[in-house]
């Protein structure tokens, strides 16, 4: 029972109090369309990979620097941020979002992160080079002496839930996706409850 515990968090809608892509979409004239895509993706109607590449293409017109301004001010769940900042070496982020977009949030959290990756030039997003399959993040964190706890809310967290030792569905921003809930061991509906649980594991 002296295994080290490592916590792997989803970012959008788990640590952030709002989904990030719709916030970026507000800068374009495609806000409703991107919000609809995001919703369908969380619910699992469209595969994350496909939807994400499409949304990135639609959002590419927003300068990278403007996206970073948005992500640097997106509200974060205070309980989760405190939890991570107290033990950054035991925490990781697994997000399908792009490294160059969410870097300001990762800087605030100060822990390691697994992200999708993209290339940009002259403040313009060129294209997605890799989308994260979240089970890969869990595998990278796992070894015989480690208990890996995954926390997330969406359909694309299911592979991470299945690979982790303990899966926690989080419903602090919106109810967890049906499939995420079905794959979870625990369900926490706010940051205080979540952190109580994580502290006990």
């Amino acid at each position: 029972m002296t295994r080290r515990t490592v916590y792997c968090f989803d970012l959008d809608g788990t640590i952030t109090d709002a989904e990030i892509l719709p916030l970026i979409a507000a800068e374009t004239d495609l806000e409703d369309e991107i919000t609809a895509l995001t919703k369908s993706t969380i619910e699992g109607a469209i595969p994350f990979d496909t939807s994400f590449r499409l949304r990135c293409r639609l959002l590419a017109e927003v300068p990278v620097s403007r996206v970073r301004e948005i992500t640097s001010t997106v509200p974060l769940n205070a309980d989760i941020v405190r939890f991570i900042q107290q033990r950054p070496d035991d925490c990781a982020i697994a997000t399908g979002n792009l490294d160059l977009w969410v870097q300001p949030i990762l800087d605030r959290l100060g822990c390691r992160a697994f992200t999708s990756t993209a290339l940009s030039a002259d403040d313009v997003l060129w294209g997605v080079t890799d989308t994260l399959y979240k089970a890969d993040a869990i595998e990278a964190l796992q070894d015989d002496d480690t208990l890996v706890v995954a926390v997330g809310d969406g359909m694309n967290d299911v592979p991470m839930f299945e690979a982790a030792d303990v899966a926690v569905a989080f419903g602090g921003v919106h109810p967890p996706a049906e499939a995420a809930l079905d794959a979870a061991d625990f369900v926490a509906m706010n940051g205080a409850g979540l952190c109580q649980l994580l502290n006990s594991l």
């Binding site: 029972m1 515990t5 208990l147 030792d165 303990v166 419903g171 809930l181 079905d182 979870a184 061991d185 625990f186 369900v187 926490a188 509906m189 706010n190 205080a192 409850g193 979540l194 109580q196 649980l197 006990s200 594991l201």
Partner: protein, 232 residues
């Protein structure tokens, strides 16, 4: 740890037992009210889990839910073990079908707090249709449980509520009381409670709750009268 995953098949209702109402208030709401000052509450859910989660989190959003998808063919002990997985700690186990008189619950909590590193089982006067009966012995000022029985062997039954350590439920897939046999004798404290397993139990629980509420009202009225007489 509130074990509320079961089908409640003996009650024959289509809802989980913890959502059964007495005087318009569900059993789980009654328990959450009792647990107001308890900092960490976990509810183990299974049968119609979303209904239970929706109601509980609308009342107390920091409650953590433990999923037991195997609820239809596992014992309560399996639920508790899922709730305590990967942790070693003291906890209060409580069945979601138990109605407890508030004053006696508070005094049970105080007993648990005072004997922090000691298991305590809450027993009550037997009244349910097929309870787990306990034989007790008094040693000094302590009431101890010496054995459990499915046969009526005393006037007391175990309520299903207990202050335990995760080690107590570490082994075996049996009824919780069968697992606790190895730890006997254990300390007991008497509570006033009613378990709801069958329609008859529910009827009894309804009348018991009414009695409690009547008693609670008469207690709150008395000081007013005294005060009035003092003033005169």
């Amino acid at each position: 740890m509130i074990a509320a995953a079961g089908l409640g098949s003996r009650l024959g209702a289509a809802t989980p037992k913890c959502l059964v109402k007495i005087d318009g208030v569900t059993l789980i709401e009654r328990q959450l009210e009792l647990l107001q000052d308890v900092p960490e509450v976990r509810v183990i859910v299974g049968f119609r889990e979303r209904d239970v989660m929706d109601l509980v989190s609308s009342i107390r959003p920091d409650v953590v839910f433990v999923r037991n998808p195997d609820f239809a063919h596992t014992h309560t002990i399996h639920s508790l073990r899922r709730a305590l997985q990967h942790s070693s700690r003291w906890f209060l186990a409580l069945d979601g079908d138990l109605v407890i008189e508030p004053t006696s619950f508070r005094s049970f909590l105080a007993t648990c707090a005072a004997t922090a590193e000691d298991p305590v089982l809450a027993i009550g006067e037997s009244g349910t249709e097929d309870g787990v009966f306990v034989q007790t012995a008094t040693v000094g000022s302590d009431l101890l449980i010496t054995s459990f029985s499915r046969e009526r062997c005393s006037g007391y039954e175990w309520s299903g509520m207990a202050h335990l350590h995760s080690n107590h439920i570490a082994e075996g897939d049996r009824f919780v009381f069968e697992t606790l046999v190895d730890s006997l004798p254990m300390r007991a404290a008497v509570i006033d409670a009613a378990e709801v397993d069958t329609p008859q139990d529910l009827q009894r629980a309804r009348s018991v709750v009414r009695d409690w509420e009547r008693a609670a009202r008469s207690i709150t009225i008395e000081p007013t009268i005294d005060l009035w007489e003092t003033v005169r």
